[in-house]
Symmetry: D2
Subunit: 491 residues, 4 copies
Amino acid sequence: MTMQSTPKSEDWFDLEADRLHEECGVFGVFGHPEAAALTALGLHALQHRGQEAAGIVSFDNQRFHAERRLGLVGDHFSDARVISRLPGRQSIGHNRYSTTGETILRNVQPLFAELDSGGFAVAHNGNLTNAQTLRKELVRAGAICQSTSDTEVILHLVAQSRRPRMIDRFVNALREIEGAYALVALTDGKLIGARDPLGIRPLILGELDGCHILTSETCALDIIGAKYVRDIDNGEVVVISEAGVQSLRPFPPQKMRPCIFEFVYFARPDSIVQGKSVYEVRKQMGVELARESLPEADVIVPVPDSGVPAAIGFSQASGIPFELGIIRNHYVGRTFIQPTQGVRELGVRMKHSANRSQIEGKRIVLVDDSLVRGTTSVKIVKMMRDAGAKEVHFRLACPPITHSDFYGIDTPEREKLLAATHTLEQMREFIGADSLAFLSVGGLYRAMGYEGRDDLRPQFTDHCFTGDYPTLLTDMIGETPRQLSLIAEAS
Amino acid sequence: MTMQSTPKSEDWFDLEADRLHEECGVFGVFGHPEAAALTALGLHALQHRGQEAAGIVSFDNQRFHAERRLGLVGDHFSDARVISRLPGRQSIGHNRYSTTGETILRNVQPLFAELDSGGFAVAHNGNLTNAQTLRKELVRAGAICQSTSDTEVILHLVAQSRRPRMIDRFVNALREIEGAYALVALTDGKLIGARDPLGIRPLILGELDGCHILTSETCALDIIGAKYVRDIDNGEVVVISEAGVQSLRPFPPQKMRPCIFEFVYFARPDSIVQGKSVYEVRKQMGVELARESLPEADVIVPVPDSGVPAAIGFSQASGIPFELGIIRNHYVGRTFIQPTQGVRELGVRMKHSANRSQIEGKRIVLVDDSLVRGTTSVKIVKMMRDAGAKEVHFRLACPPITHSDFYGIDTPEREKLLAATHTLEQMREFIGADSLAFLSVGGLYRAMGYEGRDDLRPQFTDHCFTGDYPTLLTDMIGETPRQLSLIAEAS
Amino acid sequence: MTMQSTPKSEDWFDLEADRLHEECGVFGVFGHPEAAALTALGLHALQHRGQEAAGIVSFDNQRFHAERRLGLVGDHFSDARVISRLPGRQSIGHNRYSTTGETILRNVQPLFAELDSGGFAVAHNGNLTNAQTLRKELVRAGAICQSTSDTEVILHLVAQSRRPRMIDRFVNALREIEGAYALVALTDGKLIGARDPLGIRPLILGELDGCHILTSETCALDIIGAKYVRDIDNGEVVVISEAGVQSLRPFPPQKMRPCIFEFVYFARPDSIVQGKSVYEVRKQMGVELARESLPEADVIVPVPDSGVPAAIGFSQASGIPFELGIIRNHYVGRTFIQPTQGVRELGVRMKHSANRSQIEGKRIVLVDDSLVRGTTSVKIVKMMRDAGAKEVHFRLACPPITHSDFYGIDTPEREKLLAATHTLEQMREFIGADSLAFLSVGGLYRAMGYEGRDDLRPQFTDHCFTGDYPTLLTDMIGETPRQLSLIAEAS
Amino acid sequence: MTMQSTPKSEDWFDLEADRLHEECGVFGVFGHPEAAALTALGLHALQHRGQEAAGIVSFDNQRFHAERRLGLVGDHFSDARVISRLPGRQSIGHNRYSTTGETILRNVQPLFAELDSGGFAVAHNGNLTNAQTLRKELVRAGAICQSTSDTEVILHLVAQSRRPRMIDRFVNALREIEGAYALVALTDGKLIGARDPLGIRPLILGELDGCHILTSETCALDIIGAKYVRDIDNGEVVVISEAGVQSLRPFPPQKMRPCIFEFVYFARPDSIVQGKSVYEVRKQMGVELARESLPEADVIVPVPDSGVPAAIGFSQASGIPFELGIIRNHYVGRTFIQPTQGVRELGVRMKHSANRSQIEGKRIVLVDDSLVRGTTSVKIVKMMRDAGAKEVHFRLACPPITHSDFYGIDTPEREKLLAATHTLEQMREFIGADSLAFLSVGGLYRAMGYEGRDDLRPQFTDHCFTGDYPTLLTDMIGETPRQLSLIAEAS
């Protein structure tokens, strides 16, 4: 019942400890004889979106079957015995980034309930901004909430709808929720997908051997050899059945506004998001960054691994050679159990080391994708100086992150965001670099192929850089806004 | 989601595979600084009532804390670290005998819900006979059932009650359920106990250092050095708070009718049930049995371990010496994983062996406590003959079991009960004994200290021997009656 | 490398914590298609002789195969996959009672070496009294000892013998060792058994479907349905091959002097040792004890489980009723991990409880098989008094243990043996009983069927009661004698 | 006992399945209060040299302590509890690449023996070419070999030497062995390092706070902040004690001939080997390769991860852009247990995926470090074609591997080396590339800074490319040469 957001014991070893984390990836298959195996593969390809747990629910035209596990997809769902317990031609799955502890298996999605109108399973990427408010109302009316996830609210709304058809119940439920969501749901004979009215979280339609696939990213289509069909529209609900794909549009039309962080950090570089190669966009961010703030330097060093595409772009635009100045140790071991103090202090060296031959006596440009609290940036700069760097110029391939997210990205509270509380010069001093620069908001939009940000009707959800939240934040009224699901868990 | 009642892989090794199984033991403490540690000890003493899983919920005046684990109490709850995660002076716990599989942790009690009126945790020994009917109504109204246990129905009834006070909601819920139950519940500042209107399942009040204790059996008082206060009455609800013990009686008065199987098999021999020593009663059953059907014989051999007290009584009444003719192997190992065929065929020998020196050339009387399907009795008689027994007389210290139970005892379906489908002579032939006799129903009541069964107002719930079910069986109308929770799990 | 004899964390819960422990059981099969499966069953039946680890080596006429595991036989060797890794018609196995830690798997027997003359595997029950001396000589000559077991000395002696035939090398090795041993060995095409010149440790020949079996006890024959053929003689070496059983007698003839503790405590009650039923002998010890020191009393209470046969004998001889005054909790859980202080203090109650109905207000006779340090006896007497016993008379079915063992029994150092340092009255006071009596040495021999001990040529190895060590104790010269293998492990 | 070289179940997922594998890394510390913790860190930095097991032996001036574990260093030796069991200021450690199964823990180094002259621990990187011959002689003389590693032969030679001083015994042993070795040994008060007469395997002396360190590579110095002192010379034995570092040269002087594969593949890119930056040398191999065989192309794609430095060099020399055309999935999960057939067939896609945006419609140059059996190269080329590559040019940054290694590199048998049995054109056809080219032997030496290979006195051990084995191969006389330790394990 009690739950703390446990500090990851590996944080001190990990350059990635200061990155943002998405909460989920979703995947669904309709009509394939190996539906669960395909779902496992899809979730494996989406593993970067959530590593804490995974689950699959299948339907064999009679019963629903569920397997949920803590850990990586490949640890459990590569096992033919597990897959054999998931028979049927329909299947949905979910990757979760989350907390630890006793109750976690309750929270692992897809969630399932045996409703009056039949079984209903749902998996959710995103975060609702009125879940806490809805939850209170539901509990007041006698509902019992078993999980602490905001997704359960959707399940209760579906359960309590008076409409006889499941799809109508589901649409009813969507009309009550606010925030960001890409949902896949499985009900008797139907696979349903839904994307929030602004299309904040991604959802894609694919096809394999005549069967339809729903997925968070195209990389999950590639792994199974499926074809990309189209992105689900913002505010669209697709109902996939033996009759084909039916499209519902239960919301008033709005301009799409997908989350720009999918490009900046979350999506896998080989994915195509909204028609754009993520790798290309990231390289282009490096190109724009070089245009905006190019120091005199001898070598471009990427912060592994997510800084690499921008660093390649920066190098190509500047002509300064790209070199692996930081080497990643590939064999870190799963768990650092109770390290001795001496080991702790060696910090990031356990996972990364300086490639002294490329650093010593040189003026280096470190290129990273983003800066959150700045804690690991400090360590990297120090590692470079220890290896003899003459100058260290830090470049970030996105603008300063000044606002928290409430749509499914695990950002720290605002006061812990370095850029929310420090000037550029203070940040430079904090991380110990000789110079520091961020990509401008305009540069970011140029890297995406626009002339700039359309401030009247912005093309993307970009509140982390701009403070411009695109939806109501019902749960936050009268209190310091926090990530909803965490509030729920603390209660 | 899918769940079969899996055959235990150890069945072929186990003399106890053909015994009946209770579904639960419950325990609660109010106001002790080591509430959770005491609860762990109490559950350990009640371990014979359920070995599959255990759970404890504590309340520290601010929050509820829960730990639930598959396996024995001593495997998990003897760990000080686990206990330290259960702070507070109020605590309830539960032992479960149950099924296997993914969902089991959902079913492990105590169940907990955050209701509009506050947190509510409940643990249940017994079985409701209208749970399925209530469940359907609740789901129709939009409730989501996460577990497959009938106990969740109680939780939903409490959640949906309109009464503001938690105790009134709880009593409301009790008025809707039928069947057998001993409940302990924990809510903000109160420990609640309740026993069904007939007192079918046991519940006892004890006291330690001025703190009140609720438990299924007195042996759980002994282990912590607590004093026995009194049995909770049939139909009584006790509310324990800082103000002391308040007793409610929400049902019309009825004569108590506790389950006679607590004496025959379930309760631990050192427990005192309804004021009677279980060991003494069992010995007395052996005495009555010897009076009723004493063969000429050389030696009395108990079927270990539950046949021992009756065999001692039989020996003392008959003057025929009591000898350990069957030796139990104490080091069996937790799991027999995939035994080879050869090992399987050796059956019960893995756990027990004949003590040939006491058997060979002798006329033996095997004394056991009960006979269900008869499958292990066949093996025991064969083991005795293989060891050279001249004659094998089988004596059962209870009457023939001819009817299934629906109140929390895991009986096979009626057609699998040997005595429901065979005559005495057919049974004797089936198990291969030279003679076979059961204690009569009258003898059973005499062993309990009565002149006999009061057929108009029977002193005990004894339908397994008589077919006389004491409550409504709402769920069974129009279908072959089965154990409710299993139906639920199969759905 | 470093190794301490770790105190068992469960000691405070366990009535059996103060019993003696044997170090091993051995088993061998020649010529059966399921040799390894039979060996696993045999080791399971011998599990009481050692619970810490088990191992099996098989030979498939080409290669030797080995599996060794920490834990119970049934935990690992009931698995068909493990057995399938042990092909061949010859097999030997070993149960070990031992220490913990990294190196233990090295010490788990059977030991194996690829010698110049072929593979050689050996398993040993007993302890050598000149192993340390031999070991020093071997190491001085350049031998490398990998394990800390005295058995490895035998392996090195075989390896360094100059004789070409393996059996001659083995006999050579036997002529160099002193102490107690029952050995089974496996070499190319032969199963070898050997018993020390006095026959201190037991070894038995059996037969199943024309195949020969070697085992420490007859109970391992019973489990697989094999027939008892004969006890191996003291000083006999049997060589079992396709040609049948060949018997060698490489030592000068001596009178046999088996260890009397096999009867008192180690052997399973259903075993036949030296032609005598262990159960019968133990009952007879109770009979003799009743003759020697019968108090006025109301009830005989056995200390479970090993005190039961003597208590039955005591009851039958005295006419005082036998009752289960102490109830054993069968579901203790494998491990008590870090119990809280409160739980620790409840001591033996976790595993046993008083059956108050048989104790309260009564004069009871507690019958136990032996008394070592007396620590648990104190707890039992207290448990009886807490349950209301009027008088507690403690009776031990063997004489006072005043001397340590050096032949494979894990006795504490002499100063920790209660009877070595206390008078009878002091012992009575220590354990808190109203009276205390031990069986006399003469009574012990009478229970075995003799008129008494033949002090000139004693029938049994009985130094623990008499100080009469029957072999040289080479390693103990000039130092306080200790168990050899422990000395080795400390080095 | 029986052991097969088990095919790794992950092979079909892994681009690295067709790489060569080193067998070991070694590390030693003298005189530091946290010797074992430093050793754990050093082994962690050397993890790329062996991932199957690791071990540490420490000496606290009285006793030796050992911990050996299967798995990664970080899985076990990051635990402060494990380190606390390794007290003392002297310590040596070892990483092992090896087989699986029961006996492996026996084989995990450092090996230890209690010899007549005191304790002796040794860890070995390399392989002896007369170990089997020596082993037979030792067994014939009565030695018992417990492990199957050739390192145990060294231990026996030390044990059987008649010289009183341990260092003399050790030098005696070195004079009997042939082949490649870098050894670290720990004996009473001394840390010893030794490198074979040609210096085939690397060994380096470092220093931290006045304490001496021995390590296979400099990256292990960097992780603990130690300074590089010098490479141990070929044929040198260093004895480190309180008196400082003493250098012995027990062999006639020879020109050093280190293994060229340390540069090509084994050493970590951030290590300095023989005074050269491994990263720089690898980049230079890419430069030379571009000079020798530059196709017309649009993009340079490295085969991750070991192909990256050469690809950067190739790109810089050719001016063709370097792009991440293959994306590595960082979250693979430790184990792929029993994948379904469908999953198997997806092969490398589980670990890597094509970055279509950089591949489609392009002429690509794939740069890899080496080609062994060619099995994964086939999959990569196919993956590129599936992603739409117009042309695929495969370039290898080392010459064709035509001969097996016997000095500690796990090469397949010669008939499985693609380049040993195929012409260049046949290889091109086999892997399906549009063109294929290898770096020439001359180019390889140029990349190392030489004008070319000195065929009379070659600068490096390079038999895998040239067939020029630099030592006797005693064990191979009269039989097909195979890796020694595998022969030993099969016996």
